[in-house]
């Protein structure tokens, strides 16, 4: 570098140090910076993935929220509720105001449900079971279900309440009475009652949120004043920003090596677990995997021990623990941790002999989702494992959008797909029904296209039996059946690991007695604590 360039660099460095120094005294306001890989969808009716959930849980409120450190749910916007057959009645708080200043009433709850159903996007399928919702009076709302659905209360954590009046004032172009249901407006603005308001939202870049001073609950002073949620940062960028003190919480999608490097550099590791797993799904309609024996051969050949080794971050923290079956340990119907699955080459070879197709005639398509680099390593692991059986396979990288399109037809669905699936409401029904019920096939969750009468029957029992013990029994049986028909290689029980700076404490993601047991809920900003003087 010549002298000119060097002095220019020096001048710039000087300038940036100056700006930092100048910014320091005004530190009364605390800023929390985090990132997510996916684009953030602000419209609560379309929220489905992790980034959307973080936005939804902070900008909007739901009638109930999961209890911390315990099963079950506690009142939130609702004061109390009661169930009578297929009717669920909620009594609402009367002191809640939306961020617009409008009071929250039963009308808003009805509107929120109808909007969700009309758009039919995101997690709206959770509410297909609802026949109608009715505002009994200002503060009472009644939901009538088409058929018995035991985990309905759990579903309510996925029904964000939208400010009807505000949305109706801002309808965009569209056909019919409701025009666009406020889609254009809600994709860039908030109409919630949540603890944080949206001050700017750019789906490709970042969403900036501010504390809502008029929130109906007290927000502790330690909660961050401003939150910046940035999208699509590269792992190397996040890694450096955190170690330079310019970023606070990473996404869960950092590779284990990067998390390890951060932990070695003094970052804390936050975890969220118990609601989902890593599922390696086999297309049961496509030969040779339409034969259960062939699937069992692969299930037994998979190297479970290496996969656990691959996701270990530090000796104490890992991105997952050994799987024991289709249901993650701790959830209703799961097996105990000591039943961990292991690979068994001899059994694999036996099943292979019983398989209708000879191994050399296999040509398996092993897909991996381009957005999740870790899956490429699993693809390679499988290719190596299956090669030990003499099975040939081909690795195929697929962007998420393309994958979601291809799985809508069984013949386009690859032989093997790798997916992280979790119970979106924390209840096993929302984990398993979408994956294995025969009529639910054709979505990203169900590339198995499983069609098994016994599985269907048990899944139906799980959602209709109302007593907890009976449900546990049904899921236990289901778990066994799912091991027999082997539509899936149950890779591992997933634990999300986030690297975070020392500037922030997140009890919900570090103290098991404060954990919500619902993905994304740990990112409730009002319960986070910014540390003084750092």
């Amino acid at each position: 570098m010549n002298t000119l360039a060097r002095s220019l660099t020096a001048a710039l460095l000087g300038a940036s140090t100056l700006t930092l120094a100048a910014a320091a005294p005004a530190l009364a306001e605390t800023v929390l910076r985090l990132d997510e890989v996916a684009v953030g969808e602000l419209d609560p009716g379309k929220a489905s993935d992790y980034a959307d959930s973080i936005l939804m849980f902070n900008v909007y409120d739901t009638l109930v929220i999961p209890a911390q450190g315990a099963p079950g749910h506690v009142p939130h916007l609702a004061e109390s509720w009661s169930a009578d057959g297929n009717t669920f009645t909620f009594k609402l708080r009367n002191d809640v105001k939306f961020q617009s200043g409008n009071p929250m009433t039963a009308e808003d709850v009805v509107f929120s449900l109808e909007r969700m159903q009309a758009l039919g996007q995101g997690l709206s399928y959770l509410f297909n079971v609802v026949e109608s919702a009715e505002a009994v009076d200002e503060n009472t709302v009644a939901f009538t279900l088409k058929e018995p659905y035991a985990p309905f209360i759990a579903s309510m954590v996925r029904l964000p309440i939208v400010d009807k009046k505000l949305v109706m004032e801002n309808l965009g172009d569209g056909d019919g009475e409701m025009k666009d249901w406020g889609q254009a407006f809600l994709s860039g603005n908030s109409a919630g009652s949540g603890a944080y308001t949206v001050s700017s939202h750019n789906p490709q870049q970042e969403t900036v949120m501010e504390k809502n001073a008029d929130y109906f609950l007290d927000i502790p002073d330690a909660a961050p004043d401003t939150v910046r949620l940035r999208y699509g940062l590269e792992p190397a960028t996040v890694r450096t920003l955190i170690s330079q003190g310019e970023h606070d919480i990473s996404s869960q999608w950092l590779p284990p090596e990067v998390l390890k490097a951060l932990a070695d550099g003094g970052a804390q590791l936050l975890t969220e677990s118990g609601t989902g797993g890593f599922y390696i799904k086999m297309n049961t309609t496509k030969p040779p995997l339409d034969d259960p024996e062939c699937r069992m051969a692969l299930v037994n050949a998979f190297d479970y021990a290496s996969s656990i080794k691959m996701i270990a971050v530090t000796p104490d923290v890992s991105q997952g623990s050994p799987a024991t079956g289709a249901i993650p340990v701790g959830m209703l119907g799961s097996n105990p941790p000591e039943d961990a699955l292991t690979s068994d080459m001899d059994a694999a070879k036996k099943h292979m002999e019983a398989c209708a197709t000879a191994p050399e005639d296999f040509n398996l398509e092993v897909s991996w989702i381009a957005e999740v680099p870790l899956e490429e390593r699993f693809a390679l692991l499988m290719q190596a494992n299956f090669a030990q059986l003499g099975v040939k396979s081909e690795i195929k990288k697929m962007p998420w959008a393309l994958f979601a399109e291809q799985v809508s037809k069984p013949e386009n669905t690859p032989h093997i797909s790798q997916l992280f699936v979790n119970a979106v409401t924390g209840d096993p029904d929302t984990l398993l029904y979408g994956m294995y019920f025969s009529d639910a096939a054709g979505t990203w969750q169900s590339p198995e296209y499983l069609d098994d009468a016994e599985v269907d029957e048990l899944l139906t029992q799980g959602r209709t039996i109302t007593d907890e013990a009976g449900r546990a029994e049904a899921y236990k049986k289901l778990n066994e059946r799912l091991m027999e028909v082997a539509p899936t290689i149950y890779g591992y029980d997933r634990q999300s690991v986030f690297a975070a700076s020392e500037r922030v404490k997140v009890p919900a993601l570090s103290d098991p007695s404060k954990a919500f047991g619902l993905d994304g809920m740990g990112f409730t900003f009002r319960l986070m604590e910014m540390q003084e003087g750092s």
Binding site: T9, L123, L241, P399, L402
Partner: protein
């Protein structure tokens, strides 16, 4: 009509024909390839009816020339359609992301001209000597790696191991960005009189712009040298030397000027190529430009956005080339004098 105006008119009309061709080409490519954009846009949980409705709305059921007709009709109203990925008009999206990309390319272009040409002049003046050989090797190295390799190497050296520059983004998080007037952060911060933001933006742009410029710098240096060496061999230089003109003056006046024209042409092409290479550098430095948008819309088969993005980038490409042609016309004494002689 003066020759310059005639040239401009000719170039503009050819550009329009070319742009129509580009739009047809990319329109066809985007549509003949399998994959259902409606299904991708609506996501995995949409019903078959919803997909069908969207297909109707997008005219995907019509023959391709009818679809192209709709496209042209909307384009005439300055409408490139709505992106299925962001649910916003494609033009709004592009207007949001293009300035950051252009800013990067322009700064890189400045590096290219201000570093590449002087290096070429030096090299030519000291041709055959140590300095010349060194510059030649370095500039050939510059051309020999894609910009993402330079981006990774520069990032590793000057952001990780020697943390002189920030590793990502366009401006520091702690600094409130200036009001958006032009979309160019460097310009907007100056309009605001916000020097903190200006220096932060400058600090952030140097590394990515340099990575983007490196191959251009090499190219510019090599061409300038080659053309100057050629003119150095011309008899009039020898004559100037024998008349006792200072070497510096010979270099500037007699050797550099004439060699400027061919260099400029190639520099124009390089500058335009940087519009494409910017995608690579943006990916490395998390630069909030058109790159991520472009890659995302391509992966999602977002037809309107793909056609719109490629069309706008091609238009930029053509505009740059026209500007270069005009510059050449202005510099070239034959054209300029012809102009003076006729009017």
């Amino acid at each position: 009509m003066s020759p310059v105006v005639r040239l401009l008119a000719k170039r503009l009309s050819i550009s329009v024909i070319v742009l129509i061709g580009v739009s047809m080409l990319i329109f066809t490519i985007a549509r003949v390839i399998p994959g259902d954009p409606a299904r991708i846009a609506l996501g995995p949980n949409a019903t078959a009816e919803q997909v069908e409705q969207l297909r109707q709305r997008l005219h995907l059921e019509d023959p391709i020339w009818v679809q192209y007709g709709y496209f042209v009709r909307n384009l005439a109203h300055g409408d490139l359609g709505v992106s299925l990925y962001t649910n916003r008009p494609v033009l709004t999206d592009i207007a949001q992301f293009l300035p950051a990309t252009l800013e990067l390319v322009i700064v890189a272009g400045i590096f290219m001209v201000c570093l590449g040409m002087p290096l070429g002049i030096l090299s030519a003046r000291y041709r055959g000597r140590m300095a010349d050989n060194l510059i030649r090797v370095v500039s050939l190295l510059g051309v020999s790696a894609p910009s993402f390799v330079w981006a990774v190497i520069l990032m590793l050296l000057f952001a990780f191991f020697l943390p002189l520059f920030p590793i990502a983004g366009q401006i520091s998080d702690t600094i409130p960005p200036p009001h958006r007037v032009t979309g160019f952060l460097l310009v907007d911060s100056l309009i605001d009189g916000n020097f903190k933001a200006f220096f932060s933006a400058l600090h952030h742009i140097i590394l990515p712009a340099f990575a983007l410029a490196l191959s251009g710098i090499g190219q510019a240096a090599r061409l300038t040298r080659a053309n100057m060496v050629e003119t150095y061999d011309k008899p009039y230089i020898e004559m100037a030397e024998s008349y006792g003109f200072a070497p510096r003056r010979i270099a500037n006046k007699f050797a550099f000027r004439p060699s400027l024209i061919p260099s400029l042409t190639i520099i124009g092409l390089d500058f335009a190529a940087m519009l494409g290479n910017a995608f690579l550098v943006e990916a490395v430095f998390a630069w909030p430009g058109l790159s991520r948008y472009g890659v995302q819309v391509i992966l999602r088969k977002d037809l309107n956005a793909i056609v719109g993005t490629v069309l706008v980038i091609s238009a930029m490409f053509l505009i740059v080339n026209i500007i270069v042609d005009l510059l050449i016309a202005y510099i070239n004494p034959r054209i300029r004098l012809a102009n003076g002689g006729r009017t």
